[in-house]
């Protein structure tokens, strides 16, 4: 992996100069700023941003991630003809995409908090930023996996959108079905597990628990609160979110190393 840094350096430069990352950053910047101007306190802005972040960050990450890898295909071939190992190249490309996306998000959301709230939004903002960054990493990794698995670009885009739909929308429908069919059984623990398995849900619940909305969640919420309040719960949640970046990336890397160009 000795060339990862070198590749990363130039890929970062390329991506950061691209206009879309600027647009992406500006979208978050404007949105956050406007929410503040419409009289939101730090916490309320975080709450309003939450839905957008949970939908937009994964969508943009997975779409741009796949697009980027397909687009770079010829250059990848060119680089692979150089004395470069595939692992370095893959990780360098991944970093070159995930870092600007995560950075653009963090800057776009974070800056308005600095000048409106003086950074004083506390742990809720922290969780929002961390969740957004980890979701970026996870869905960029999923994007890379999709792009490596599907040679055909149209199929790849389709798969990317499908993965996003599954995680962002359909999954919760399944959870709801589980709740409504099995409600006679104690569901708190299975729900906890189901939540842990979907990075978007995990992010959503971690954010919900930051607000006193948690009180609305009654007994279920109390169990979630206790779990995610404990060091073990926090560690596990973080591990799972990170695993959602690492596992797809590893599978993608495996395929990338075996792939014919």
């Amino acid at each position: 992996m000795k060339s990862t840094g070198k590749i990363l350096r130039y890929q970062l430069r390329d991506v950061i100069r691209g206009r879309w990352i600027l647009v992406y950053t500006l979208v978050f910047l404007l949105m956050t700023d406007v929410l503040f101007r419409f009289g939101g306190s730090g916490d309320r802005v975080v709450l309003s941003l939450m839905n957008v972040v949970l939908l937009l960050v994964p969508l943009v990450s997975i779409i741009f991630g796949t697009m980027y890898l397909y687009h770079a295909r010829e250059f990848i071939v060119m680089l692979l003809a150089q004395p470069v190992d595939r692992t370095s190249l893959f990780l360098g490309l991944y970093g070159g995409m995930a870092i600007p996306l995560a950075g653009g998000y963090a800057v776009g959301v974070g800056l308005p908090f600095l000048w409106h709230a003086g950074g004083g939004a506390g742990s809720a903002l922290g969780v929002l930023l961390l969740t957004g960054v980890l979701l970026t990493c996870a869905f960029t990794a999923l994007a890379f996996l999709v792009a490596v698995l599907f040679e055909d670009r149209a199929k790849g885009f389709g798969a990317a959108v499908l993965v996003w739909l599954l995680a962002a929308v359909v999954y919760d429908g399944i959870v709801l079905m589980v709740v409504t069919t099995l409600w006679r059984y104690p569901l708190e623990r299975p729900l906890l597990a189901l939540t842990m398995l979907n990075p978007i849900d995990l992010g959503r619940v971690l954010l919900l628990l930051q607000f006193d909305i948690a009180a609305l969640m009654g007994y279920t919420g109390a169990i979630f609160n206790r779990f995610f309040g404990s060091a073990v719960g926090k560690g596990l949640a973080l591990t799972v979110l990170v695993a959602w970046s690492v596992l797809p990336l590893l599978v993608g890397l495996r395929r990338f190393r075996m792939k014919d160009f």
Partner: protein
């Protein structure tokens, strides 16, 4: 106020008996009357007892002389030394004013209080300060009393270890006003009380309820503040309640209510403000209540109305920024919503009559789901939930058909 009139009439009746012989007794340490107990022994009806500055530690002082007034100078403190009742009033028309009473022990057998009125009429407790007491001011089987401008600060331990700040049992025609109570189990507690007026009190940070009453008909509650109480306010098994201009705020918790109405009938809840409660109003088994002109701001649930509540009317209220505006546990609802202002309303008013042209359905499908399957709350703020809510709003299938505001207000004025 009828009860104020009644109590002054009572006093008026007593005064002719006592005025001729009335005397002033001064209680002061180191004098011939070093304790209040000693003063009572020599007191005659209508006497005026002044308690000088100092800390008095006496066994339960039984005040059995009618018509007397006990008045504390500033700094007159009665320390219950964690023993029994401090002042026990058993005679009519006694006024207790300006005392500081502290340290009344917890008991699991009897209700020890700082000031206890037992089977009396025409009693007055005012401008007293009560600290660290089990019960604060306690009325049993008493009528025509006034409790005002008292401050009671409880020790804020656990629900079982503390009593109520103002506790009325089996009493009628009592005026409770301008008191500030906190840190007790319940701030104001009524059981079998009728004809009470409760106004301008501030009841905050109590362990259980800011206000709690049962079987207490025809009482009125005006302009009180109930905030940050462990379980909010709960009122039960009562008819003819009037609640106007109160503030119910920040009663958060999985079992906290701004106002819990259980078996309340023929009552009015008007012009109150409910802000930041996990459930602003929860109504079950409550019929014919008029809920009018209230503001529901930033609550978890603004109104939870169970199907066993019938014929309630919600009108000209303002709902803004609540996670759920209205929730219910049934498809049918006999409560009416009309001319309310809904922050979530997205309709229009083409004919400019001030009412939206499209009816508003305040019950989200998700609210219904959560009511039926509580663990579903875990999906709160999920995109999927927003989608099914939207779909349901367009084509209502599951939400109560009858629960519709046909004339949603476009603007809201108090």
């Amino acid at each position: 106020m009828s009860l104020a009139v009644t109590s002054s009439v009572c006093l008026g009746l007593l005064i002719p008996f006592t005025v001729g012989m009335a005397q002033d007794i001064v209680v002061q340490e180191g004098t011939s009357v070093p304790t209040l107990g000693a003063a009572i022994l020599s007191a005659r009806p209508g006497d005026h007892i002044v308690v000088r500055r100092g800390v008095y530690r006496e066994p339960t002082i039984v005040i059995d002389v009618p018509g007397i007034t006990i008045e504390g100078d500033s700094g007159a403190v009665f320390d219950g030394e964690d023993a029994e009742d401090v002042l026990l009033v058993t005679a009519d028309s006694v006024t207790i004013r300006g005392l500081t009473i502290r340290h009344v022990a917890t008991s699991y057998i009897d209700d020890r209080a700082a000031i206890k009125f037992q089977e009396v009429t025409g009693c007055v407790a005012e401008h007293n300060r009560i600290e660290d007491a089990f019960f604060g001011i306690y009325l049993a089987k008493s009528t025509d009393c006034t409790i005002r401008h008292n401050v009671a600060i409880g020790r804020k331990t656990t629900e079982t270890k503390s009593g109520n700040a103002i506790h009325l049992w089996n009493s009628r025609d009592v005026l409770v006003e301008d008191n500030t109570v906190s840190g007790h189990r319940d701030g104001i507690y009524f059981e079998f009380v009728t004809g009470a007026m409760v106004r301008r009190n501030v009841s905050t940070d109590n362990l259980r309820y800011g206000l709690h009453f049962m079987f207490s008909h025809n009482c009125e509650y005006w302009d009180n503040v109930f905030a940050r109480n462990g379980a909010g306010v709960a009122v039960m098994y009562t008819k003819g309640v009037t609640m106007v201009g109160n503030r119910f705020e920040e009663n958060w918790g999985s079992a906290a209510f701004g106002l819990l109405l259980k078996d309340i009938t023929d009552s009015r809840v008007e012009d109150n403000v409910f802000r930041g409660n996990s459930t602003a109003i929860h109504a079950e088994g409550s019929d014919r209540i008029i809920v009018k002109g209230n503001e529901f701001i930033a609550n978890g649930w603004a109104v939870k109305i169970m199907a066993n509540s019938i014929d309630n009317e919600f009108t000209r209220n303002r709902f803004v920024g609540n996670a759920f505006d209205v929730s219910t546990n049934s498809r049918s609802s006999s409560s009416r919503f009309s001319e309310n202002y809904w922050g979530a309303y997205q309709g229009y008013d083409l004919d400019r009559d001030g009412y939206g042209d499209v009816p508003f359905r305040p019950v989200r499908l998700f609210a219904l789901l959560v009511e039926q399957y509580p663990p579903a709350i875990i999906l709160m703020r999920s995109a999927f939930v927003d989608m099914i809510d939207l779909a349901e709003r367009v084509v209502p299938i599951l939400t109560p058909e009858t629960l519709v505001d046909e004339h949603p207000l476009m603007e809201w004025r108090q």
